[in-house]
């Protein structure tokens, strides 16, 4: 069967923190592999440091690269909604990944991460493992809607469980910032029972700060997103890192692949795919361990 050639544009945020780095890696891998596998497919990949630039990238893909499909992981939902909608109006296939647009029915395919789920699973883990309640500190990400959704869900999940958040600051999904913030939390509070770092990069920073302070009141640090070093520690039964919550950066690869299928297979794949956030514990850690990934 002779297939028409097609160009698929992929627009993602730049690798400004660990998770985004992993996502960049998977996007590049997918583009490379699919490009080799299907001769008729061309890919255009661009990474943007802010929403405005992402809109520029998308405009360029449409105006100058003549894309037939767009896979977009919006930097933020609101600002990308209009521009992506106008892409969709031009009969270009649109796949939205991770962050939904603020209007319904623009995209043909939606591959979503579950941000509230991410917070909820983490919160439930705390409730389960701290039956008597306790005092915890929270490291938040970069101030964004995503972070808000996660933290709100987390707060709802621990509501009424006797777990009290005694400190919450932005660690910006960054090891260094998390290290600093955690150091100061440790100076400020004589007793901290556990830490929700909400991201594995931040967990690394927080753990280093706890190590340095030599404090043994902290029972555990829960990160998130499934960084390989952390999964390894879960696998090895590290007491400080008993679990992790997934938020797989590989979802971008899934989305690109599914989009590509539209142009090589006969059956178009559309609809909504939600990649839930799972709890990783020592029992199932092996399934989530990808030693070759950079993240």
């Amino acid at each position: 069967q002779e297939q028409e050639s097609a160009t698929i544009g992929v627009s993602i945020p730049a690798a400004t923190h660990g998770w985004a780095g992993g996502m960049n890696f998977h996007a590049q891998q997918a583009v490379e592999q699919l490009g080799e596998r299907y001769d008729n497919l061309d890919f255009v990949l661009s990474t943007a440091p802010d929403p405005g630039q992402q809109v520029n990238d998308i405009e360029d893909m449409v105006a100058a690269r003549g894309i037939d499909a767009l896979v977009v992981l919006p930097f933020e939902s609101e600002p990308l909604t209009g521009p992506v909608a106008s892409v969709a109006e031009q009969d270009i296939w649109v796949t939205v990944v991770d962050r939904g647009l603020s209007q319904e029915n623009i995209e043909d395919l939606y591959v979503a991460g579950d941000n509230p789920g991410f917070g909820r699973v983490a919160g439930e883990y705390f409730v389960e493992n701290m039956p008597d309640g306790g005092q915890i500190v929270v490291l938040r990400g970069i101030p964004t809607t995503i972070d808000n959704e996660r933290v709100e869900a987390f707060q709802q999940a621990i509501d009424g469980s006797g777990i009290e958040i005694i400190g919450m600051e932005h660690g910006n999904w960054n090891r260094d910032d998390a290290f600093t913030v955690m150091q100061d939390f440790l100076s400020r509070h004589g007793q901290i029972d556990a830490v929700w770092a909400s991201d594995d990069d931040m967990a690394v920073g927080a753990l280093a700060a706890i190590d340095q302070a030599g404090r043994d009141d902290i029972q555990f640090v829960l990160g998130g997103a499934g960084m390989k070093e952390m999964i390894q520690r879960v696998m090895e039964g590290d007491e400080m890192v008993p679990a992790d919550v997934t938020y797989p950066p590989a979802m971008i690869a899934t989305a690109i692949e599914m989009t590509a299928l539209n142009f090589v297979g006969s059956a178009p794949v559309s609809g909504e795919f939600i990649i839930g956030s799972e709890l990783i514990t020592q029992e199932n850690a092996e399934e989530y361990y990808y030693p070759d990934s950079p993240f």
């Binding site: 960049n24 990474t47 802010d50 520029n56 100058a64 690269r65 101030p143």
Partner: protein, 333 residues
């Protein structure tokens, strides 16, 4: 200082012509490169895109040219734009619930942006001239303040303009006359008026005099503080104007709106041949600087470079080369 010396050394009128050509040559080189890389590069669609998106930074950079020429600096413009955008959205949403979607609501929004820009510029200017605090410190401070305020207004998330309002307001970014969109028209107007103000009015001369030697300017009965403050107010106002174009484009504001615009605007000004330490400014050069920066981004999007991770490196190299070209033609004479 060093700038003055360079001029002294390079000397006479004819060399200056070559110095002038520098950024233009860099721009031409980029256009040729773009055309070679992608046949769509010169398509009306792409040209419109590039020009329209240059408009935000461009309008701001024109104001920045005056500030820098008068020996100042403003690091707060990006955050200021984000803050004004946030404020504008809140005000417009609120107005809409009273007045409905319509011209009045948009006008209220536009006025909000202009007044806020004016006020923000005046605050910077007065702190610098009356407070006698280094411009770098004042605007670093206000940069943090505005960035925080918009994050706080948005509660850490995104402020968005009501959807209907956005559709109504959209043409301010996407519409235009005779195929030329509004941002391009406004940018062109600002640039032309700016160029005239810099070269043909007493204000422009006073800016250069102050940047060159403020003591002499003071002795010559130039109202140094007033002119300096005016440059910041003008810049604030232009940030407001840029925001008026920006809001209909994305319809939202968040903590990442306008990130690093200050750096881009300053870079455009310097690439255009204005002297960072003040005393000499060139608005048309700034316009070319802005276009160079936009084109670099555009060209990178038109080609599949080795790795997207290296975009920044290529950008860096081209920025340096653009300026080397300026110096290069200068020396080769």
């Amino acid at each position: 200082m060093s700038a003055a010396d360079t001029t002294t050394q390079t000397g006479g009128g004819r060399r200056l012509d070559f110095h002038v050509l520098g950024p233009v040559l860099a721009l031409i080189a980029l256009i040729v490169l773009g055309t070679l890389i992608n046949t769509n590069f010169l398509s009306p669609g792409n040209i419109t895109n590039v020009l329209a998106r240059s408009a935000f930074i461009g309008i701001i950079a024109v104001g920045m040219t005056f500030v820098i020429t008068a020996g100042g600096l403003d690091l707060s413009v990006g955050s200021m734009a984000a803050f004004i955008a946030g404020l504008m959205i809140i005000v417009m949403n609120a107005t809409m619930s009273v007045m409905g979607v319509g011209l009045m609501t948009v006008i209220v929004g536009i006025l909000t942006a202009l007044v806020a820009g004016l006020a923000a510029g005046a605050i910077n200017g007065l702190l610098i001239t009356r407070g006698r605090i280094e411009a770098f410190i004042v605007t670093l401070g206000t940069m943090g303040i505005y960035r925080s305020l918009v994050t706080w207004l948005a509660d850490g998330g995104t402020l968005s303009l009501d959807f209907d309002l956005r559709t109504f307001y959209g043409p301010v970014y996407y519409g235009g006359i005779l195929g030329v969109t509004w941002p391009i028209i406004v940018f062109a107007l600002v640039a032309i008026v700016g160029e005239i103000a810099m070269r043909q009015t007493a204000f422009g001369r006073h800016c250069a005099a102050i940047g060159s030697n403020d003591q002499v300017a003071r002795y010559s009965a130039v109202h140094v503080d007033r002119v300096r403050t005016a440059t910041y107010v003008l810049l604030g106002l232009l940030v407001g104007v840029a925001t008026i174009m920006y809001v209909p484009r994305l319809g939202s504001a968040s903590s990442s709106t306008g990130l690093l615009w200050e750096l881009e605007a300053i870079a455009a000004v310097i690439i255009g041949g204005t002297v960072l330490k003040g005393g000499f400014g060139r608005v048309w050069g700034t316009v070319i600087g802005v276009l160079i920066l936009s084109l670099i981004g555009n060209i990178l999007n038109l080609t599949d470079v080795v790795s997207p991770y290296l975009n920044g490196a290529i950008q860096g190299v081209i920025i340096i080369l653009a300026v080397v070209m300026q110096r290069g033609t200068n020396v080769s004479r």
